[in-house]
Amino acid sequence: MTNNRFPEQHGPPSEMEKIKDQSDYLRGSLVESFAERLSAGIPDEQTKLLKFHGSYMQDDRDVRNERKQQKLEPNYQFMIRVRLAGGVASPEQWLTMDELANTNGNGTLKLTTRQTFQLHGVLKWNMKKTIQGMNEALMDTIAACGDVNRNVMCNANPYQSDIHAEVYEWSKQISDHLLPRTRAYHEIWLDEEKVLDSREEETEPIYGPLYLPRKFKIGVAVPPSNDVDIFSQDLGFIAILEDGKLQGFNVTVGGGMGMTHGDTNTYPQLAKVLGFCKPEQTLEVAEKILTIQRDYGNRSERKNARFKYTVDRKGLDWIRQELNARLGWDIEEERPYSFDHNGDRYGWVKGDDKWHLTLFIQNGRVKDTEDYPMMTGLREIAKVHQGDFRLTPNQNLIISNVAEEDKAQIEDLAAQYGLTDGRHNSALRQNSMACVAFPTCGLAMAESERYLPSLIDKVEDILDESGIREEEIIIRMSGCPNGCSRPALGEIGFIGKAPGKYNMYLGAGFRGDRLNKLYRENIGEEEILEELKPMLQNFAREKEENEHFGDYVIRAGYVNAVPDGVEFHT
């Protein structure tokens, strides 16, 4: 089937292609699977379709073996990811998510590295009402996972509200334009009546019945901030401003983080700039690029199915020609731009007469602990806040668009609940990011979210001794090489190999414009600290003015620079 539909397929279609093909536009037997009462899980092939509906089946891996002994199945539960273009949520939406997390989830909210909410620990029989609860607050989870365009990221720029509003609007439109058209989601979760329609091409005019070969990620950046890590996106739009006005976007293609341990045919890659388009051309360009990947992406080997491999295989020029051919017009030459950082700027800032408070949320986990009632504090703010919430690409949170007269009230609430901009932390911690990993992520090979904070405690001692606590260094950890926390762009990066063991990478660019390089393989905490200590001490002594740690380790010879992903393993 697949090989007849698409040119250049070099192997039989993967199992996933068959599942999609037989799913009747993502319906599968999800209704029956969720009605079944004897397992808290659903069959394996249904979990693969469920992703397109924004949810992963997971289990509490902390108790997996224990439960097996107890003659209990794994503690199956579902992660639900919201589609939230640009990470902008209204206070009502915040309150809805907060409530759903506490009633149907595990009492926490995860702000993701792609600027959206994740609920964890939702039980099978609570799925429908949870999704309906989101729907009532005008949120959905369509295409939040799966082989489709994922949540569209957008710069969370708190300085220029007008520009942000305009750029955010484009990210939202891209998100809506590339949304699957199947009514499966509405039928399964929202009880919509099924309407019979056998005309395939009208059901999914952009995707077709097999959707994409693999996930597809889009981001929109506004220089000088590269918070969305534009070069990690399959497709990127870099806003070009002149005289404070949006002129259009530089279009980037072929970035991506994921790889497979031990398979050098897989690698993280930086996106390349393809050209420039005007704002009104954005949707057309996005659609056509997506269809190139739809037609030319590898549907046989999922490890090599991301757009980055298509771009590297076909070459940038070919992509541009194919795009121009599909557009019927030529995209323009890229315009000059420059980034200077990819981290967040914490605390209160004022932009265009509105105030914005960026709060530090360690690894994006919103929860209450005994000594830090963060979740409660944010709930209290949401109850009175007139602006919006912005989830940043670094898993932090901006209380955004606060009017001058409301600022004191927000300030008081933040103080009352101890909500922190994190500036008492080291600049390393402020620039840290970890994926979820254990206990819920099925892919995790090592701890990440639960471990990175304590590793940073120890690294901070070294920073303090060396007097570089205020030095901004990007540190990222992922529990597996799929790279949800974009670890290949960490000046210090860790990718899990086994419990307590990580590959250590060094030398990415502070602006998110250079990949890091493997420095040590399969090491534990003791060795990590033994490696980092002299390196940071030397950095403190030898660093040149404005020199970032990622640049220093290359100059000092710890690692070679990786200008292109194809050299990542060499």
């Binding site: 009462r37 004897l38 224990e66 097996k68 002994q69 107890q70 003659k71 199945e73 029989w125």
Partner: protein, 607 residues
């Protein structure tokens, strides 16, 4: 030889005629043997353990003329095994004995009964056991025949911590008298430690049966070679110390419950059981509770005390740990304790006028409470020991099939823990299993047969199994058995507990059996996962139509677990389904169920 007559002998006419027929036929040797035999006291040891004779041949002699009918009402199997034990002993004495459960006995045959022995337990709130129900109803109805000429005696089993102690036995005893039967031995009401009083009752009854018969006591020549082999036979009176092979908690983290799965080693014991049977455990009291008692009373833990009528002695601590009940209070205990204190409050409490207060006091309290509340005590440790009940055996439905697990027996035991009267309390045996039983430790056990909870003999018969919590245990045994036997009949399991995630006992096993077709259908109800509480009976009702079809196709229905709520509601639901789906009225539905019970198609193991 003298012709025996009523006038010249102590025999009645019938007996005299029999003797006159037999005696002239005897050889010299037989006469000598018989004279010696008759010289031995009839209730002596010689009778209790007579040699096996059936194969000896040539011993045909005058059988006793009156037939003995033993009817039992048994819930956990105690009355059933006692009945069979006594029947065996009587048969050895050449009595004609029939033994059956009350419900297996045709009520019409009651008219022909001569000597009737009733053994029955009492259930819940003074109710008869399931397999005594219809006989009980018949006997108490107007259709019950006059029983002139019938001789009877009743053995009642019960638990004195219940308000209606031995109620069913008392009622049978009274009713038989009302119907004109003659009581040959007084009823004996047994508490949980029933073995000794039951044996005493049997001796008294046996003696009366003898004298009443004027029988010749036809016991033929000794045949020592035919004595039973010396291989150890394990039983309630000789429990086996089974090693624990596995002891796991079946409830996942975060559960309100703790349900232990125990696997015990029976290798080499010859102990046999069938799915549906129970395993008895002789438990031990919590040592810390024993120590608190000893400390409170300032007793010497090493002092020796007498633990039974045979005069065996043990150190006090061991006696309190392993031999006596210290965790529940009964009315008789309080009455006896009242004599050991000068505290007026206790004397007042046991006054018959205050029976409600007494009942309220005993609930949730134990010996430590009693001793703390009603001092100063004016008695020795021996006085206290003398008023205590023996520690009762705990019975658990077996959760394994011997076919699937040769040489093993598995149990499903819910740990009982609660707070009462300001102190945490725990179930003696269940918490011993949960907290003080490691693999490698041993538990004294015996098999208690339960004929009232057995798979249908025909393997094609469909089976509906309903159980909540640990009530699911025998169904695991059932399915293991059916898997081993490759039984073809359909099976349908209803299971309920609190939470799906943590309390789905044996979840992966049911899932496997479903996948492999050993289990045809399964429906579950988890009461605390939803705002509205859902129980097994709700799931049954949801499937009314199909369930009725199964019943109509001859399905056997099993109910195991909590009696007070679950079993009652399940029964109500079965009646509702019969009425709704079978267009029956109340009476017809009741009758349908009664017929099912009679046909052993409705079996319950509830507690």
């Amino acid at each position: 030889m003298l012709q025996l007559k009523e006038k010249n002998s102590p025999f009645n006419q019938e007996q005299a005629e029999q003797l006159n027929r037999v005696l002239p036929t005897l050889t010299e040797t037989q006469r000598i043997w018989l004279s010696g035999y008759l010289a031995v006291p009839l209730n002596g040891a010689g009778i209790e353990d007579p040699p096996q004779t059936s194969e000896a041949g040539g011993t045909a002699a005058a059988n006793p003329t009156r037939e003995v009918t033993i009817l039992y009402g048994s819930h956990t199997g105690n009355c059933e095994s006692l009945s069979e034990e006594f029947a065996g002993k009587l048969k050895e004495q050449q009595f004609n004995v029939t033994v059956s459960s009350m419900d297996d006995f045709k009520p019409k045959a009651l008219k022909k009964v001569e000597d009737l022995l009733i053994l029955t337990s009492t259930h819940g709130d003074g109710d008869p056991p399931d397999n005594a129900l219809s006989f009980y109803d018949f006997l108490h109805s107007k259709r019950a025949p006059e029983l002139d000429g019938v001789r009877f005696s009743v053995l009642a089993l019960g638990d004195s911590s219940y308000e209606f102690f031995c109620q069913t036995g008392k009622e049978f005893d009274q009713r038989l008298e009302e119907l004109g039967a003659e009581r040959i031995a007084d009823r004996v009401d047994c508490d949980l430690d029933f073995e000794e009083p039951a044996e005493e009752w049997f001796q008294a009854v046996a003696e009366e049966l003898d004298t009443g018969q004027n029988q010749t006591g036809d016991v033929p020549q000794a045949a020592p070679g035919l004595n039973q082999t010396s291989e150890t036979v394990y039983s309630r009176s000789n429990p086996f110390n089974a090693e624990i092979l596995e002891n796991i908690n079946l409830n996942g983290r975060g559960s309100n419950k703790e349900t232990r799965h125990l696997e015990l080693d029976l290798e080499g014991t010859g102990i046999q059981y069938k799915p549906g049977d129970s395993l008895g455990i002789f438990p031990e009291n919590d040592p810390s509770l024993v120590d608190q008692l000893i400390q409170l009373m300032d007793w010497n833990p090493e002092e020796t005390v007498t633990i039974n009528k045979q005069g065996e002695i043990r150190a006090l601590r061991e006696a309190l740990t392993s031999h006596f009940e210290i965790t529940s209070l009964t009315k008789p205990l309080l009455e006896k304790a009242a004599a050991l204190t000068s505290n007026e409050a206790l004397k007042e409490l046991v006054d018959p006028e205050n029976s409600q207060e007494l009942k309220a006091y005993t609930e949730g309290r134990d010996l430590l409470d009693l001793l703390q509340d009603f001092g100063p005590w004016d008695a020795s440790v021996h006085d206290f020991i003398a008023i205590l009940r023996k520690i009762p055996v705990r019975l658990y439905s077996i959760a394994s099939s011997p076919e699937a697990n040769p040489d093993e027996v598995h149990l499903t035991i819910g740990a009982v823990r609660y707070d009462a009267h300001g102190r945490p309390r725990s179930g003696v045996c269940s918490v011993q299993c949960a907290e003080r039983s490691e693999p490698g430790d041993k538990l004294p056990v015996f098999v208690q047969r339960n004929q009232n909870f057995k798979l249908p003999e025909n393997e094609e018969t469909p089976v509906i199994m309903i159980g909540a919590g640990t009530g699911v245990a025998p169904y695991r045994a059932f399915l293991e058995e059916r898997e081993e036997n490759e039984a073809s009949g359909d099976t349908w399991l209803f299971f309920g507990d609190q939470h799906f995630v943590t309390d789905f006992l044996y979840q992966t096993e049911w899932q496997r059996w479903l996948k492999e077709g050993v289990l045809t259908k399964m429906d579950v109800a988890f009461s605390r996962d939803t705002d509205e509480k859902v129980y097994v009976q709700h799931r049954m009702h949801e499937h009314s139509k199909e369930l009725y079809e199964w019943l109509q196709s001859g399905a056997h229905v099993y109910v195991c677990g909590d009696e007070q709520y679950m079993a009652k509601d399940v029964q109500e639901t079965l009646l509702t389904i019969l009425k709704e789906e079978g267009q029956m009225n109340d009476e017809q539905a009741e009758q349908y169920l009664a017929d099912m019970r009679q046909a052993k198609r409705y079996q319950r193991d509830v507690y």
